[in-house]
């Protein structure tokens, strides 16, 4: 509609989710723009960025202003689910696009789906499904779920319970802890006392880290219980160290050390940022490149035109092979079951995961048949 492509990057730049996406995600976005030469078909690419402070009103206000005043075409980043929900409403009202790579809630492409956003990297369903499936196959039947007591934790708990029960497992106990919590010893003790074979951590960020650390102090694994993290990010493992996290099974949408392509990109990123990218940061890059390609191909920045093109085109880049965007806005790609290395195995600071196997995209994500998305029913 005008002679510039305008991209807004909205994320938590200073709070809990800073390391997951934050300034690093912005850097990934810049890399994508640079790789495009700073312009598409002669139209300059202009970036805006803002800190949402994890507050929905701040995020919504920023995006509204971007759209009203700066005529921003697409919003990327997007981490805290409450912020994303608020932003999605506005993006939908104004008929723009949102490319979500941080938020985990699978509801975004389920009951809250809209024709104006695409969910790129992972969601609660895929993460819990992947890990639970693998652990169940290894014979862990009795589960204890430690869930964060808010929408995200509840979603994770529900998705997880479904998988466990579908595959013949049993949830023998669960506890919902307040978000955030300072001390997890009580919950870990309850998990220990439950007699479950597997303790699932259906929480994220600081809470997950804290719970994991406590579990290791109370010798959960020594007493024969297995730990399964549902939402574990590279930055969590890195900051906790291998001593605490070793052996943890997790599902990831991407890992920097998978193949030459990923390594090459990750090294470039590392040079600029000084850290290895998380999957969310890689997702920002990937989704932006895909978006810009679609703009280039259609020579339009109309959200629906571009979206159709994005759906049409499979994603083949360092992030995903044969990734596909579905009608409900879910970008379906392969996920990976990983295990955290032992300190002895690890050869460098960021050498943290063993990739055990690939979970094909169709298996990893909720199938459209189960979807409540209004775009699908019609």
């Amino acid at each position: 509609s005008d002679d510039e492509i305008r991209i807004g990057y909205l994320a938590d730049m200073s709070g809990t989710y800073r390391d997951l996406s934050g300034p690093g995600g912005l850097e990934a976005l810049k890399m994508a723009v640079e790789d495009f030469g700073g312009q598409v078909n002669g139209k300059k690419i202009v970036l805006f960025n803002a800190d949402d402070l994890n507050k929905p009103d701040v995020g919504a206000n920023t995006v509204r202003q971007w759209i009203d005043e700066k005529n921003v075409d697409v919003v990327t980043g997007l981490v805290a689910t409450s912020v994303v929900m608020a932003v999605n409403k506005i993006v939908e009202q104004e008929n723009k696009l949102a490319l979500i790579s941080g938020s985990a809630s699978s509801a975004l492409t389920n009951e809250f789906c809209s024709p104006n956003h695409i969910h790129w990297v992972y969601d609660t369903y895929a993460l819990s499904n992947g890990t639970a499936h693998a652990v169940l196959q290894e014979g862990g039947k009795d589960w204890f779920i430690l869930a964060a007591d808010y929408a995200f934790g509840h979603a994770l708990e529900a998705d997880l319970t479904k998988v466990i029960e579908a595959e013949g497992g049993k949830v023998v106990g669960k506890v919902r802890h307040p978000f955030p919590s300072n001390d997890f010893s009580s919950y870990i003790l309850q998990a220990q006392g439950s007699g479950a074979e597997v303790v699932a951590l259906a929480n994220a960020g600081a809470d997950m880290v804290n719970a994991l650390q406590t579990a290791s102090q109370f010798g959960l694994s020594q007493s024969g219980q297995k730990l399964a993290g549902m939402v574990v990010f590279l930055n969590d493992v890195h900051s906790m160290g291998l001593e605490v996290t070793q052996g943890l099974m997790l599902t990831t949408g991407w890992y920097w050390d998978m193949n030459d392509e990923t390594r090459e990109w990750a090294q470039r990123y590392h040079k600029r940022v000084g850290r290895m990218p998380t999957m969310a940061q890689a997702g920002v890059y990937s989704s932006t490149i895909h978006y810009l390609n679609a703009v280039k191909a259609t020579d339009s920045d109309d959200s629906q035109v571009v979206r159709s093109k994005m759906i049409e085109t499979p994603i083949n880049d360092m992030f995903a092979k044969n990734g596909k965007i579905r009608e409900d806005g879910r970008m379906v790609h392969d996920m990976y079951l990983a295990q955290v290395k032992t300190p002895a195995e690890s050869k460098s600071e960021w050498d943290l995961y063993n990739i055990l196997r690939t979970i094909p995209g169709e298996q990893a994500y909720r199938s459209l048949a189960d979807s409540q998305c209004k775009l699908i029913k019609n």
Binding site: T16, N182, E243, V244
Partner: protein, 295 residues
Amino acid sequence: MTILFGVPLSVLLGQLLLGLINGAFYALLSLGLAIIFGLLRIINFAHGALYMLGAFVTLLSLQYLGVNYWFALFLAPLTVGLIGMLIEKYLLRRITGEDHLYGLLLTFGLALIIEGLFVKLFGVSGSSYPMPDALKGGFNLGFMFLPKYRAWVIVAALIVCFVTWYMIERTRLGSYLRAGTENPKLMQAFGINVPLLITLTYGYGAALAAFAGVLAAPIYPVSPGMGANLLIVVFAVVVIGGMGSIMGAIVTGLLMGLIEGLTKVFYPEAANTVVFLVMVLVLLVRPAGLFGKET
């Protein structure tokens, strides 16, 4: 096995013990807060940041100086205590005699600055501090597995708390402190160096927070935000105990740990809220808190 309200007694015992250990942290932190409030009449919003500093000094002195845990146990409170003294001497001193709200605003600003800088320098994820070798492993108490370190926490915290209590309530120094709160000018006229007393007190309060920080380092993720969440609960503890009451801060700290522990078993969703419920109830019945003197 005895069952109590649907929970085996042994589990309950374990939970109570864990609650007590958490309570020891509350006690240490609220003690420092109560002392600072007592003498400076300042609601020290920087207390959480000082606690965090204590943990970070421990972590960084290991990473960069190779200082071990036992040494950090002294080094961190000393360093943070000194920082506290500087804060008092160069900032808080300039607002003595003003409305106490300004102390709140100032310390809140300080907390924002300190925490913001640490986020910038170290990120938010937090790091873990290796467990000191001597305290690895644990005891099997029959009804639960008690990590050695947690046992050490409660012993260390209680000793420090009671030594502090004795100093303040049972020695001459303590009566200087209490009187200095009320009328510093007159105390000067009795020959007491009140400015020094105040600086040392704030420093000591800061050192207590840092001591709690050292104790926390091996069991909780060391992150810039670690103190901010705790702070508000610790305020509640001080108020329930009765502002200015040293014994109140200690006992209430332990008590709140226990109550929170029980809540985590019976209604975990409310674990963060129960302290405030208790606070409302206590203040309705005893307006000056459990141990506070009504004026």
